[in-house]
Amino acid sequence: MKQVKNVSEVFHWESQRQKGCYFEARSVVEVIKSDVVIVGSGIAGLRAAIEAARASNSRLEISIVTKVQAMRSHSVSAEGGTAAVLYPELGDSFESHIFDTVKGSDYLADQDAVERFVLAMPSEIYQLEHWGMPWSRREDGRIAQRWFGGYSYPRATFAEDKVGFFEMQTLYDTATKYDSIKFYQEWFATSIVKYQNKFVGVTALDIKKGDFAFFKAKAGIIATGGSGRLYSFATYGYSATPDGMHMAYKAGIPLKDMEFIQFHPSGMVPSGILITEAARGEGGILLNKEGERFMKRYAPEKLELASRDVVSRAIITEIEQGRGFKDEASGLEYVHLDLTGIGEKKIKERLNGIREIALKFRGIDIISEPVPVRPVCHYVMGGIDVNIDGATSIAGLWAAGEAACVSINGANRLGANSTAECLVWGKITGELAARYATEKQHEQTPWEDVMMEEKRIFDGILHGSGSVNPYEIRDNLQREMDANAYVFRTGDGLLHALKRIREMKKQDFRHCEDKSRRYNTNLKDVLEVEGMLEVAEVVLLSALTRTESRGAHARRDYPNRDDKNWLKHTLAFRTEEGPKLDYKPVVITKYQPAERHY
């Protein structure tokens, strides 16, 4: 890795080439140069890095800039499975996986992308296996699969119930093989730098030491994951804030379909920790206060294995009609997920992880007792607008995984398709970015932008002053989202929350109490909150404007799907006044929109 030591020289040299460039003698920004820079080290980021290294025969230098340490990304908490068609001879088919995904999406997915995804998946499963993934096995030594919600065939490939964790381990361990992949751990990327709409690099803050650097690269990939921490009741770890989405949004790339947020039916009360859908796939049932298996009234055929939006609406309806339980300590209402019928042996073999979690965090042994669950923020269908190749509107910049919106998930993602999407578009974008970086030269650096960013962070926030606690802003934001942008929404609620978020944006929270350089998470957190507010604003405005119910976006005041007016993707562009919305058509190849039944 070429680390430019004599940074001031580089700076002067570049500044002489560009007339009118911002210059201030006190500021010297370190430049860390490589060919491809990947922001994020979850499944998508690691898969992209390995592909870029492979595609270039290790001739390219690849930097992974990640705000967490390697192996800490929230991909490790994905539990139940990764979908792929592995056994056509037993009755599965590409056609079926494509149709299930499109139907699950409530017809908002782009069907050409879904097709490409489904066809690419089997080799991703085998590829991970060949790199060491401990997939659970059948007696004959081949890879095992199980049922998941919304599917017509048991095609969730699993490794106990720690699928994301093992995928991360396999990818991280494999990435250590490549000397051309260099990790910059606990570096928080703050902005995308472009020149004449071409990617030039990203700026980032070294959390460990407090340094600021410009990661100059020919190509970039944003793989920073979802934004689930816009909610307090979430399966996501604390690190799942929309930093990457916000960077892209600030750089002029629209955010797509952000109103579609998935609420997983089974978040354990009160922590929100995920109880995998595999629990229902293996035979778990949902019961209300009266001991009734209520899903038979909502999805007579698929019952608990209907798609997640359907099951979550059923749970909230039960609770609202007085058939839920109440957790006195937290005030949260819930239903029971009963796994006692599965049997000890199968639970220990296939659901060991959630057994451990329920025991430790709730004192419940799932072998003999039901788990209290309610719908919980779990996934963001929307994201950075990209095309079928994962390319953004900035040349040389791609996005992959949950941060991106291709879209294969439309208005509602099926379980086991997210880790899969990370793998497929990790690979696609890694390969394309490597090819681009091989053919292109480094672009000129618009130093003014880099220096302005440094100024914003250090002069504006680290040395800034203010009276409002940024953590209080974060908590208030989450409260508004929990209350008004949850499973069921109304125009009034969304509008109220939008006004509140806009008030918060004006408040005086952009400052640090901690003025130190080393491990200053206060500084990073203020930057995160800034992004959370802007992205929450996009979610709320997109949701308020979409006057229909589709997939995970259920409006009380507009209870029906409206294909005539709303069979289209939302695009939110950033302006100084707030998001400006536009729309683009859905790609429909074979499957005409139809009513969904499960």
């Binding site: 800490r72 908490s77 790199w131 060491g132 096995r137 030594g141 081949r142 250590t176 965090f361």
Partner: protein
């Protein structure tokens, strides 16, 4: 119990001569973990507390620290199970402190990497372009499974007396992962790994204090892995030679 006294060891090597302790009064609620208590203090009492955390469900391995002297994950320790109102949190031993509770993992990750934690195969073309899976029976998977649970939290490394005295010793985490790959029926890199480990600072340096296995929050038994690896080193051969890894499925 309506509150806890959280005592945090504070230390910024750039600013402080030596560590000091600072006390915070945190309101208690049922089900509160030690991480919850620390985050309350960080969010509402003192924004400058340095602590690493993420998943809050014992999967990501970020929040290893000493809690009342005993190494554990903060997110995986209930305040109620400590049986005390006063909770003292300190950084893990054997890691350099970055600030307060956050420690530097560079050396730890480097040692993991040096023992080749990936499948080594002769059939590189097959490995990088598969059409099916390498076969593996459930009982073969079972042999490596507990070792694959490692979340790289560093707790075992922090309690290892050998790591404390010999900086060249790879440590329980790295060696247990070496065993995980050596024992994998798909792997052919055993010989190379055994060669790396067969030296006075390697596998022979461990004297089986066993604290690594006792402290692991995920049920991994690194001491067992080290024992089993030693057996292979003494016999002078890995379970498989090059080309002997399990074969891909064919119809």
């Amino acid at each position: 119990m309506s509150y806890v006294k959280l005592v945090v060891q504070r230390y910024d090597p750039e600013r402080d001569e030596k560590p000091r302790f600072q006390e915070y009064i945190v309101p208690y609620r049922k089900g509160m973990t030690v991480l919850d208590a620390i985050l309350y203090a960080r969010d509402y009492l003192d924004h400058s507390i340095g602590v690493r955390f993420s998943c809050r469900m014992a999967s990501c391995g970020s929040c290893g620290m000493k809690i009342n002297g005993k190494p554990a994950l903060a997110c995986y320790t209930q305040v109620s199970e400590l049986g005390t109102e006063r909770i003292v949190v300190q950084p893990m031993d054997n890691f350099p402190v970055i600030k307060d509770l956050a420690t530097d993992f560079e050396e730890f990750f480097e040692k993991h990497k040096e023992l080749m934690p990936y499948l080594v195969r002769e059939d590189r073309a097959e490995q990088e372009n598969p059409k099916s899976e390498y076969l593996m029976k459930p009982e073969e998977l079972e042999r490596i499974l507990q070792f694959t649970y490692c979340i790289k939290c560093g707790l075992c490394y922090s309690v290892c007396p050998t790591v404390g005295t010999d900086k060249l010793f790879p440590g329980p985490q790295a060696i247990a992962q070496a065993y995980r790959y050596v024992e994998d029926v798909r792997d052919e890199g055993g010989e190379t790994r055994l060669n790396i480990l067969d030296n006075p600072h390697g596998i022979w340096r461990c004297h089986f204090a066993g604290s690594c296995s006792a402290v692991c929050p995920k049920g991994v038994d690194p001491a067992l892995g080290i024992q089993l690896l030693r057996r292979y080193v003494m016999r002078g051969k890995a379970p498989r030679k090059k080309g002997e890894g399990s074969k891909p499925f064919t119809k």
